[in-house]
């Protein structure tokens, strides 16, 4: 009996390792290939990537794309938080009947392909360009819509984890106005959810290509695509760097999530 169990455990363990190895090869092989490709003929590509003044001089389009993407990520995260956090809290506290509607609206962008979104956004952006100019930072508005499903889910999950209503009522009873309730009672308790939403936003914006390209704006992915035509090595190196950055962001997100669970 014990032998049978041991044999089964060994088989399961072997199967687990096999799956892990196949998955590892599937994901890591392309990354390793990218790394190998970008380091051919010395580490010149990576040292150039790390030297910002030289990079912006050699590849001005790429530098512009990086700056644009970072700006877009920052502004989108800020706009998303400013819109979504108070709305989600207010809906929970005062308008619980509206929750399904808000959830539906926030999840809607997930069901619309980016290409269709662009068709709808193009005439809107004609006006955006008219009023705000053609800066790539104006993509912030489109990206805020694009990240709504992920950000909303994250913030909503954070709000579900605490008894918002009772906490708000307790604070109100102690003399807190609605702003104080939000800023000093609810927000500190959904901090990790808010951070998750912000990280997801940054990761999504850094990887966005379709909308930027079709609306004739620039960002990191558009620049990489352009660069691919002239310097394949540099474009692959930047892609790998962006991938690692997104991976690190998601890792941070997981760490914050774990800390929240651990403190419970």
């Amino acid at each position: 009996m014990a032998g049978l169990r041991a044999r089964r455990a060994r088989r399961q363990s072997a199967f687990r390792w096999a799956v892990l190895a196949v998955m590892g090869v599937f994901f890591l092989l392309p990354l390793a290939a990218m790394l190998e490709f970008t380091t051919r003929g010395g580490g010149g590509t990576w040292s150039l990537l790390a030297d910002w003044p030289r990079l912006s001089e050699t590849y001005p389009d790429l530098a512009e794309g990086i700056v644009a993407s970072l700006g877009q990520a920052l502004l989108t995260a800020l706009l998303m938080l400013a819109l979504l956090v108070p709305t989600a809290i207010w809906v929970r506290l005062r308008l619980p009947g509206l929750r399904p509607l808000v959830e539906f609206i926030c999840l809607l962008p997930l069901t619309i392909p980016a290409i269709v979104l662009v068709v709808g956004l193009a005439p809107v952006y004609a006006w955006v360009t008219y009023f705000l100019g053609g800066s790539s930072l104006t993509l912030t508005f489109a990206y805020t819509i694009l990240v709504l499903p992920y950000a909303y889910r994250s913030i909503d999950a954070g709000l579900s984890a605490i008894d918002v209503r009772t906490l708000a009522e307790a604070a109100r009873g102690l003399g807190a106005g609605w702003f104080t309730v939000m800023a000093r009672v609810v927000l500190p308790n959904i901090r990790s959810a808010v951070l998750s939403a912000a990280f997801l936003t940054v990761a999504l914006v850094l990887g966005e290509f379709t909308i930027a390209s079709l609306l004739n704006r620039t960002n990191l992915q558009v620049a990489i695509n352009l660069l691919g035509k002239s310097s394949a090595t540099m474009s692959v190196a930047v892609s790998l760097a962006a991938l690692i950055l997104a991976f690190l962001l998601l890792l941070l997100l997981t760490l914050f999530g774990d800390r929240r669970k651990a403190s419970r």
Partner: protein, 343 residues
Amino acid sequence: MNGLNGVAVHLDDLRRTFGAVPALDGLDLHIEPGELVALLGPSGCGKTTALRVLAGLEDADSGRVLVDGKDITGLPANRRDMGMVFQAYSLFPHLTALQNVQFGLKLRRRAGGDRAAAMLDLVGISSHAGRYPHQLSGGQQQRVALARALAIEPQVLLLDEPLSALDAKVRVQLRDEIRRIQTEVGTTTLFVTHDQEEALAVADRVGVMRDGRLEQLAAPAEVYLRPASAFVADFVGLSNRLPGHVDGDTVTVLGARLPLVRPGATGPRVTALVRPESVGVVPDPDGAGRVLSTAFLGPTSRVTVEVGDSVVVAQVSGELLGRLPVGSPVRLDLRPVPVTLEE
């Protein structure tokens, strides 16, 4: 009762409906300064709605809320000056016990260090001041919540079933402490509960609610011994429903003549509500009753006896139980305590 810090509270003809269901149906309640009134009633009787309307967390459809003679009906909750302890644990999870107590003081721009520490001391939890809510037990959390509510020196203290989530022993302990602290501080208090023992133990007066109205508001002993209605008699304590025959100011039940709480019954044939502790059980070979079942409850025991068509529950002392085996013949001895009749 200590009226030093207390103010009078007056709920005047409060009405509130949720959809088509009336939660408050013309509720009138007057609480004296420094008094602790417990609102008692079954689920959905409107007791929590009454408390929430007084706190400003719920709006009444009509009626007025007066505190210390001032009409505060339209005032938002954060400007009402009331301390509240909730049924659910309501401490702010990101703040320590001490910071929780300081929260209200800081909003009032008062340096709350000493006062907050004193309050934690009052509720006997000063050694846990630096702990976060998730590091405290349920009873400790409710103590901190009580300290937090009292720290702001509220005009009125509102307790919304604060002990419901606690286990039996802690509940009794904290219940007695709430009474001690309330007496010490003298804050006018409204205590909402569905636990009749809790209400009877802590309150100066108990208000029994039914369908959004007060059925009776009186001292605990009065509510228990002279219930205003069959509903009150039934809800507060256990009652046997026994057929009886009214004769003037008395009713004859199982051959015993018992005085009536409220004489003036309409028909001669009635159902009388008799408390188990008013029924004595005597082992008797010629008795008309037969023991159906027994239950040992510690200091007292419960015996169920069948007499004719009636089943009577009696409360007897623990040592008597040994002489009352199931199936043995017994005689019932009803004490002449005033009884209520079912309407």
